[in-house]
């Protein structure tokens, strides 16, 4: 996952900017495409990486953006989120558990070292080793040999020859190949392991760009990337380099775009959301993001267990007028949710049976609530916990008001001062109310929105949801190597979620961006980051 933390407002993922899907424009190549000067350097906004630039230790957008530019993984995701081979020649499996990965020949790191099967295997082993304390170590948990309790080698990885290695997973997981474009799976040159600290300061990759010499990372200011002449893959840079300027506030970045000091901006400050489209016209984009927002009502809360809980959750879901909140509170910068994933993900459907529970219907809501009252009468206040530093108060209050009016119960928000505080209470299960939850996909796959959150015992299953039927469907889906067939299983699994509502879906975020007159071919990827390598710049 890439955590986005841009100033106070965006401490929570939810604060990523958003607009309606209907206003969706894709940053399509205009007629002057290709007229750009291939030596002009594109400038864009970023934020100071929160960790050293080591692929397995970066889990936020500031560092992720840089790593994606200077490294090439086995695959990358094109604008639609579809996987395309980058360093990989082929990734094959018969049973979704054993994979044979072949690399393209003669690939090099920017220091001249060859990219071999060991570059991947060693990097993954480094990332997975407990004592290396890598933030993204959990990405390797399904590979055989992985352990959270002790240092252990990933025995499921085996180097066959220089350009071939095999992967054995603990269980079949058909979406494993889809994950391989995530930064945690990037290769590392041998020189990295000699001194990882120094490497994190001056990383050497195999991607379309490379650092502009030692010390190109000017902390808190910017990082300068130049084109890597050795990169010979599908993401070859169409410009002369990339300067990522670090901003502490979105406002400063936006002012620089207006003032002509910035070429591409991937976040519009709240204050400019209503005007930026008029100002930049076809040089702006509003596009769905792989971010899902919800709130979770755990089973263990009084009145929310068993059949009674199911009825109450459905009543709450039907009592919320999502359309009204996304219009009034977010002025159209969120889209009402129709499922538990995101519209940018392959396999998404807004007509999954059972999704009617997300449609506003006050009468039906009252009826369901009354049915639950028949089992055990409601008392007390319904509360939704949120972090007050993330700009959530407005929508939480709106939801609480709708519940008050439509269900006739006492409802309110329960603010926690900081993000850290509310997450701590959620993680150690001391929280005694419903709470805000959100998910930003690590890789474009339906499973990524379902397995890590709602599977029994899953890491981010903050509501301790458990349904064997749901688990079984996920497992079946993961065992299918045909993606469409697998997605069908995942959609069936969602039907169960609509009945149980382990989290109450609210809306999807969208990304807003704009760019200057001097650049062309600006397109935003599935993960809301512009595809910098294809941007052309005139002058």
């Amino acid at each position: 996952m890439k955590i986005k933390r841009f100033g106070v407002v965006a401490i929570a993922l939810a604060a990523a900017g958003a607009l309606t899907l209907s206003g969706c424009t894709s940053g399509d190549a205009s007629s002057s495409a290709g007229a750009g000067d291939s030596s002009a350097v594109v400038t864009t906004n970023g934020s100071e990486p929160q960790n050293p630039l080591v692929p397995t230790n970066t889990n936020e957008t500031g560092g992720g953006k840089i790593l994606d530019a200077i490294f090439a993984g086995l695959i990358y995701y094109d604008a639609s989120g579809a996987p395309v081979n980058d360093v990989a020649e082929s990734i094959e499996t018969d049973d979704a558990q054993n994979y044979t990965i072949k690399l393209k020949a003669d690939q090099k790191f920017s220091n001249g070292e060859p990219v071999t099967a060991s570059s991947f295997v060693d990097a993954w082993n480094y990332g997975a080793l407990l004592s290396n304390e890598q933030l993204s170590s959990y990405f390797f948990e399904s590979i055989e040999g992985f352990s959270y309790d002790e240092d252990s080698e990933l025995t499921g990885l085996e180097v066959v020859d220089d350009t071939t290695f095999t992967v054995k997973l603990k269980q079949p997981e058909s979406d494993f190949p889809l994950r391989l474009g995530y930064s945690a799976f990037y290769p590392l040159p041998e020189s990295a392991f000699e001194d990882m600290e120094a490497f994190g300061e001056n990383p050497v990759g195999n991607g379309p760009y490379m650092l502009d010499g030692e010390g190109a990372w000017k902390h808190n200011e910017k990082i300068d990337l130049v084109v890597n002449p050795d990169y010979d893959g599908p993401r070859k840079a169409a410009n002369g380099g990339l300067d990522i300027v670090f901003y502490a506030t979105q406002e400063a970045a936006y002012a620089d775009l207006q003032g002509g000091n910035l070429d591409v901006l991937d976040a519009i400050p709240d204050g400019a959301l209503s005007t930026f489209q008029d100002e930049f016209g076809d040089r702006s984009v509003t596009q769905a993001a792989a971010i899902f927002q919800s709130f979770t009502v755990p089973d263990r809360l009084a009145h929310f267990g068993g059949e009674e809980g199911k009825l109450r959750r459905a009543a709450i879901s039907k009592a919320i007028n999502r359309e009204e909140i996304t219009d009034v509170i977010f002025s159209g910068t969120r889209t009402p949710a129709h499922d538990f994933t995101s519209p940018v993900i392959d396999g998404y459907s807004e007509d999954i049976p059972g999704s009617e529970v997300l449609d506003f219907d006050a009468d039906e809501a009252k009826k369901l609530w009354a049915e639950a009252d028949a089992i055990s009468p409601w008392d007390g206040t319904f509360q939704i916990a949120y972090n007050a530093d993330g700009g959530h108060q407005a929508w939480v209050d709106a939801v609480a008001n709708q519940l008050k009016n439509n269900l006739g119960i006492d409802a309110s928000g329960a603010p926690y001062p900081t993000f850290a505080e509310v997450r701590t209470a959620i993680t150690d299960r001391t929280i005694q109310t419903a709470f805000r939850t959100g998910w930003q996909a690590d890789y474009p796959a339906l499973f990524n929105f379902l397995g890590p959150i709602y599977a029994t015992g899953a890491g981010s299953n903050d509501g301790d949801y458990s349904n064997p039927e749901f688990d079984a469907l996920l497992k079946e889906g993961l065992a299918l190597t045909d993606l469409d067939a697998a997605n069908e299983k995942f959609q069936q699994a969602q039907e169960i979620l609509f009945k149980d509502l382990p989290a109450i879906p609210l809306w999807y975020s969208t990304v807003n961006g704009a760019w200057s007159e001097s650049v062309d071919n600006v397109e935003f990827g599935w993960n809301s980051v512009p595809l910098y390598y294809q941007v052309t710049k005139s002058e």
Binding site: M1, L130, Y148, E201, E421, G459, S460
Partner: protein, 309 residues
Amino acid sequence: MAGYIVRRLLQAIPVLLGTTFLIYYMVFAMPGDPIVALFGDKTPPPQVLDQLRERYHLDQPFIVQYLIFLGNIFRGDLGTSFSGQPVSEILATTFPVTLRLAVIAVFFEMVFGISVGLISGLRKGGIFDASALVVSLILISLPIFVVAFVAQYIFGIQLGWFRTTVGPGAPTQDLILPALVLATISFAQIVRLTRASVIDTDTQDFVRTAASKGLSRTRIVPVHILRNSLIPVVTYLAVDFGVLMVGATVTEGIFNVPGVGRTLYQAIIRGEGPTVVSFVTVMVLIYLVVNLLVDLLYAVLDPRIRYAK
């Protein structure tokens, strides 16, 4: 004098210890686990959390954490940020930027504030005095971020006279606009202070004596009136300089100045305890030194003031 300085420096030690202890305690007492927050909305396995807590000594009791911190400080080790950069290095890159910004801002305050205040004081009750009063009132009542955004929009985006934000390496010409914005807050205070002081001095006996001796007004104003009126103003400027040195968070954020204020703000947002405490420690130190210099400056400007041996 020397004895006085030594005594003041010795007094700084308990102040430093006390402030670092308080700050460290406050960071420690902040509710919520920064390690959990590192993972955003996702929940990592507990073993991973434990490992990370151990690395940052967060599994130790408060007093142990504080002593480890203090021990490191004495060995000159200010710790490293989450991104692996030594805090001392961050200090070394951010303070010079903030220092330049503060110097330029104080320069503007001085030039504009003192000249306007002097003229106002000499022409008390005139048109100039009245308009200066109104303008300074407006500036005092405007929040700094309003001034900053308006200045950025008009001079940066519309007129294009200045770069909208501070460019790489923080070149001095880019710092002029943020410095002017910073200067507006204190400008008004300095005008008022100078004006009052000038009016007061103007009625002093020695000014009348000078005039009756036949000295020209052009000599009396700079030498007799201005010089004697400057004592409170200089004090104020020095204190203001100290304030600016410890960072102008809002202005630095708006103009993206890679200085102390912006960096500290980010560290707080990210819950980087060691960075926050080290920064604040250095800030306290700077503030103490500036205050000492101000006190010494009194004696230089006004020979009547003597410090106890």
